[in-house]
Amino acid sequence: MAVKALKAVSVGRNGLGAFILQCKRIDLHYCDWAGSSKGMNGFIKSLLPKFAAAHPQIEFTVSPRPSKHPVAIGHYINGREKAICVRNMEPYEILKKLELLRDANGEKLKKLSKNVTSINESVRGVWSPYHGNGLQV
């Protein structure tokens, strides 16, 4: 046989084909007693049912954490987690934070100073000084 095959594994591109929301779980912690949890308790009572119903792909867990500030923790498909302390926040502020957790992809925040690169081949190829005879206009 003249041609043999090398091994390769395909690379997934989320959103091309199917889109999987990267946030898979959000933990909400509150305290029954402390004042900093007042907003969180209100949020759980009033806004969470609607928010959870709108996002069935996220698993919500609500649990008390006595004598601590309230926290919202997002767990992501890449294995990382993102925790936001929501002490003394109003319910709608907490809703904003939850939307932030929902929209994040779990990666560490970093400044994108380099150009975005693609794994797709360029349509016109990589410029080479040895090719093409120039456009004669």
Binding site: G125, S128, L135, V137
Partner: protein, 213 residues
């Protein structure tokens, strides 16, 4: 001085300037005027006529080949199957009719002298002149005295390629062993640099065949 200018933009610039009759010290080289509006007007050179083509009445393709190595996903025209729509579309003819762009000659009209030089120099057409007796003779000679009748010598004698000699006959085992031993002795004398260089060369070949370089 203006005659020496060959840049189209610059000459267009200078002729613009002449029409506005602005007094200038070095015409065509100063790229600004006293006001922004005048500078803009001065730099507003007419478009090259290739941009001013009237809109085509029929559909046509503008072919501007990229200055890059062709992708392997672009099948050469010759490799297209007989019933492929790209073959039916007669694309080379379409490209040839393009007036604005100089398209490299389509293959039917290409002049063979214009093609670059072949390398290695083209081998002659195959002669197929070896007979069964020739092959027998070659085998006999090689087996009798492999030292004198080397592959090269035989190929020259019979007018065939060394590759063909090697296909026909294998030298005696002891000769091959001697040869290998001699080669091993030579390799043993190599220093670390030469050994590493040889290894790297082999690795580079493997990488080439795997498409990594």
């Amino acid at each position: 001085m203006e005659a020496t200018l060959s840049r189209p933009a610059a000459s267009a610039l200078s002729c613009c300037c002449r029409t506005t009759s602005t007094p200038r010290l070095v015409p065509g080289l100063i790229r600004h005027q006293s006001t922004k509006a005048r500078t803009k007007r001065m730099l507003n050179i007419p478009k090259h006529e290739s941009f001013l083509n009237p809109r085509p009445q029929t559909n046509h393709i503008i072919f501007n080949p990229p200055s890059s190595e062709a992708s392997v996903y672009h099948t050469p025209f010759k490799f297209l199957p007989k019933n492929d729509p790209r073959r039916r579309a007669q694309l080379p003819q379409l490209f040839a009719t393009s007036t604005t762009i100089q398209y490299p000659q389509p293959s039917e009209n290409a002049n063979p002298e214009e093609l670059p030089a072949a390398f290695p120099p083209e081998l002659g057409t195959k002669k197929y002149h070896m007979t069964k007796e020739d092959v027998e003779e070659m085998r006999r000679l090689r087996l009798e005295d492999p030292v004198t009748n080397t592959v090269t010598a035989l190929s020259q004698k019979f007018g065939c390629t060394p590759w063909f000699v090697m296909m026909c006959v294998k030298s005696p085992r002891e000769h091959r062993d001697q040869h290998k031993a001699r080669e091993a002795a030579i390799k043993a004398k190599w220093g670390p640099k030469r050994t590493a260089a040889r290894e790297e060369r082999a690795r580079r070949w493997a990488m080439l065949f795997r498409g990594e370089i």
